[in-house]
């Protein structure tokens, strides 16, 4: 294998940024979802712990999504434009969720005893925390699902603004994304708490982990039947079997680690599982950007643009990594 070319490098960066977003920003949404399920004698401390966990980091985590968006429109502009037309509705929904979630979170943090505002923002925060990852998953599922048709000569979308995403496969991916985000959030919370509170989140993590698995299996079946563009390469390539076995093993090990209260391992394995799911999607879809019409050949920007972008990414990473390390060292354990 030779050196990766420019579009391949950009795709790799996009994939890394998406993994980082789901593993960090996704879990922040998951935290909001767990507030909906705060029950029992420790409901109050659960909610408090969930909020304290995300307060210092959610804004930084959220920027991964902006990076993905920017990379898409700079490096694969035709695919970006087509997504924004074909998925106008779920993307708008996601956007409303993002705006409401973030604004409502600070409003309830700084309500300063204004109960009406606090009550309203807590509700909006929780609902938006659930809607946003759903919509994100629907968008991802529709991008993978192969029902966005584009005239590669003009960039015109020929499949309308509803048909590509209102389908079983994208909706299942939406559900799975929601499940994954809540799973990650619960796993992380086992390291933010102790005693009975930790046991609460451990139980929730186990439940959510099983739910992710329970959605993954029918999603694979639906992918094969309804979205063969992604389903067939994902499940019938030479690499498929070993890859899915590895993902499955990691997933089960994460649950085992939770069961045996090895929480640091559980966190590491849950992140690895997330990364594997996204890498599996990436590899199965490669080299198509928006199957079946757009691929790296016909929709990547000019080499001068990709070079400049990668240069900025390189310089940016040098600044970003120490800053993130500092942020997490100050506020997170282990």
């Amino acid at each position: 294998m030779g050196m990766p070319d420019l579009p391949q490098l950009v795709v790799a960066v996009v994939l890394v940024a998406m993994i980082a977003y789901v593993a960090s920003g996704g879990a922040d949404f998951g935290s909001g979802v767990w507030e909906l399920f705060a029950r029992g004698p420790r409901a109050e401390p659960q909610v408090r712990a969930l909020r304290e966990a995300i307060a210092p980091i959610w804004e930084a985590n959220h920027v991964w999504l902006i990076l993905v968006v920017v990379l898409l429109f700079v490096c694969f502009p035709m695919a970006f434009a087509a997504i924004m037309v074909a998925l106008h509705i779920p993307v708008t929904l996601m956007l409303v969720g993002i705006v409401l979630r973030g604004a409502a979170f600070v409003f309830q943090s700084y309500a300063a005893g204004d109960h009406a505002i606090e009550h309203l923002s807590v509700r909006l925060f929780r609902i938006a925390s659930a809607i946003t990852p759903m919509a994100l998953g629907v968008v991802a599922g529709a991008v993978a699902g192969g029902n966005i048709r584009v005239d590669a000569a003009t960039g015109a979308v020929t499949s309308g603004a509803v048909r590509p995403w209102l389908l079983p496969f994208p909706l299942l991916v939406g559900a799975m994304t929601l499940g994954l985000c809540t799973y990650l959030a619960a796993v992380y919370m086992t390291l933010e708490t102790d005693g009975q509170l930790r046991e609460d989140f451990r139980r929730r993590a186990l439940l959510a982990g099983c739910a992710v698995g329970a959605i993954a299996l029918p999603a694979a079946w639906v992918a094969l039947r309804e979205a063969p563009v992604i389903g067939v390469p994902l499940l019938t390539s030479p690499w498929s079997l070993p890859f899915h076995v590895a993902t499955g093993v990691v997933a089960v090990l994460a649950l085992v680690a939770l069961g045996r209260r090895h929480f640091h391992w559980a966190r590491l394995l849950a992140i690895a599982q997330t990364a594997l799911i996204l890498i599996g999607w990436g590899v199965a879809q490669y080299p198509r950007v928006l199957a079946p019409d757009l691929d790296l050949e016909n929709c990547a920007a000019a080499p001068a643009v990709l070079e400049a972008t990668l240069l900025v990414l390189g310089i940016g990473t040098v600044l970003l990594v120490p800053a993130f390390v500092c942020l997490y060292r100050v506020f997170k354990s282990g």
């Binding site: 307060a55 210092p56 980091i57 804004e59 930084a60 959220h62 920027v63 902006i66 990076l67 968006v69 920017v70 990379l71 429109f73 700079v74 490096c75 502009p77 035709m78 970006f80 434009a81 997504i83 924004m84 037309v85 106008h88 993307v91 708008t92 956007l95 409303v96 993002i98 705006v99 409401l100 973030g102 604004a103 979170f105 600070v106 409003f107 943090s109 700084y110 300063a112 005893g113 204004d114 505002i117 960039g155 015109a156 979308v157 920007a301 000019a302 001068a304 643009v305 400049a308 972008t309 900025v312 990414l313 940016g316 970003l320 800053a323 993130f324 500092c326 942020l327 100050v330 506020f331």
Partner: protein, 442 residues
């Protein structure tokens, strides 16, 4: 309402909403860092208290700015997919840089807001400096993209495609630095006077509050300095517009027919149908000088350009008048403050001046909004000046009135909540500190 008008209205609404909060995110950290410096040097707890109060307000406003900014980065694609498809790679470089700047800004803000107990004092202040620098950088980068829409460089447009793209040349277009400097100065102006006005309101109620007196004076210094710099950046920018976007300049001035020498029109109402600006005060020769640095220079009027390339003249002209009026007024207030500072009585003892500051509090933001109206409406009918028309860039997705109404409600709700929360924080902070402690929210 046509889909084009709905899309343009939503874009305008989102920009108008975002710019207020983004400005606060850029300029407020300077105030916080200076207050923290004074605390570190003097050990005076009043400075620390002030710094923490400002940080609280910044936290609320910054978050709203961050999420509405995310909204904009999506809406560029949702509303103008054809623009992004063609121009995305050309203006992508500053957007990528902005992404990293925003990353650093958010990280530093997290450290700043939640790190009071966890960081050493100097490290904590450094995080504040990081917020400020990253905030300024992200603003400057985003403006590079907007400036490119005014003066597209670093590419050729052939058969509906940008070719020979040189992203660095595109970023370093001639409007970038003048626009960025002008916007930064305006940001510090708006936030400085806005903050000074809020604290003036409290000083009027509690004339002895040392905290609010200090806050007022510090904010006034920053706003006042910006007021002095603003005409300079504005002059550079206006000369660039005169040279590179003469139609926009003609609309700003309500200049329907070319003049040599050209007079400056103050106020007035451009009547597009009759091609004349009525009721304006005209100062002879002055426009020639301001636009070209020469009292006898010719200034091109709208009559030199095809009718279908005119921007909406009345909106552009009136917005420009409002912007300039705000700048001049706040400059006069700053000069007044400078004169009062020479007097023996401290500035915070002149009640009429405090009232004036309260009245001026929202003006800087009004000026920013008006300035962006000039920039954006004055560029119409183009989304990329001379290259791509706005109507050719709009999304084919129908019923754009629906997202417009939805976002109008959403932003309206957020604005109402922000106002209510800020009022609460401000008036709570107007109560004596002892009482605060008794109520348990000191």
């Amino acid at each position: 309402m046509s889909d084009l008008i709905a899309a343009r209205s939503l874009m305008a609404l989102s920009l108008a909403f975002h710019i207020v909060f983004a400005s606060v995110g850029i300029a407020m950290p300077l105030l916080m860092v200076v207050a923290e410096e004074r605390w570190l040097r003097s050990g005076d707890p009043v400075w620390l208290d002030l710094c923490k109060r400002w940080a609280k307000g910044t936290a609320i406003l910054f978050a709203v700015g961050a999420v509405s900014g995310t909204g904009l980065s999506f809406q560029l694609g949702l509303l103008w997919p054809e623009f992004m498809r063609q121009a995305g790679p050309v203006i992508g470089l500053p957007f990528a840089m902005e992404g990293f700047a925003f990353f650093l800004e958010a990280i530093c803000l997290g450290l700043y807001l939640y790190g009071w107990q966890k960081l050493r004092p100097r490290a904590h202040q450094l995080a504040g400096v990081g917020v400020m620098l990253a905030g300024i950088a992200s603003g400057v980068f985003v403006i590079a993209a907007n400036a490119w829409m005014n003066t597209p460089r670093g590419c050729r447009h052939v058969d509906g495609r940008f070719v020979d793209v040189d992203p660095i040349a595109a970023m370093c277009n001639p409007m970038w630095l003048p626009q960025a400097a002008h916007m930064l100065a305006a940001t510090f102006l708006a936030v400085g006077f806005g903050t000074a006005g809020v604290h003036a309101l409290i000083v009027l109620r509690r004339p002895d509050s040392s905290l609010h007196q200090r806050a007022l004076v510090l904010a006034l210094w920053i706003g006042g300095a910006a007021a002095v710099l603003l005409p300079l950046s504005g002059d550079v920018l206006a000369k660039r517009v005169a040279e590179l976007q003469p139609v926009k300049l003609a609309a700003m001035e309500g200049l329907f027919a070319s003049e040599q020498p050209a007079g400056l029109r103050i106020g007035g109402w451009p009547d597009e149908a009759a091609a004349v600006t009525r009721y304006a005060i005209e100062l002879p020769y002055l426009l020639s000088f301001l636009a070209h640095g020469d009292f006898d220079a010719k200034v091109r009027g709208l009559d030199e350009f095809p009718r279908d390339q005119w921007p909406p003249v009345a909106i552009t002209h009136v917005a420009f008048q409002v912007m300039v009026a705000v700048g001049v007024l706040l400059l006069l207030v700053a000069i007044t403050a400078g004169l009062l500072a020479w007097r023996r009585r401290p500035i915070v003892r002149h009640r009429w001046f405090l009232k004036l500051l309260v009245g001026c509090a929202p003006l800087g933001f009004l000026g920013i909004e008006a300035g962006w109206v000039v920039t954006e409406v004055g560029r119409q009918p183009w989304i990329v000046q001379g290259v791509m028309r706005t109507r050719d860039a709009v999304t084919p997705v129908p019923n754009q009135i629906v997202p417009f109404c939805g976002f109008a409600l959403l932003y309206g709700l957020l604005f109402a909540v922000v106002v209510r929360l800020m009022r609460r924080h401000v008036f709570e902070s107007a109560e004596p500190l002892v009482q605060d402690a008794e109520n348990g929210h000191a």
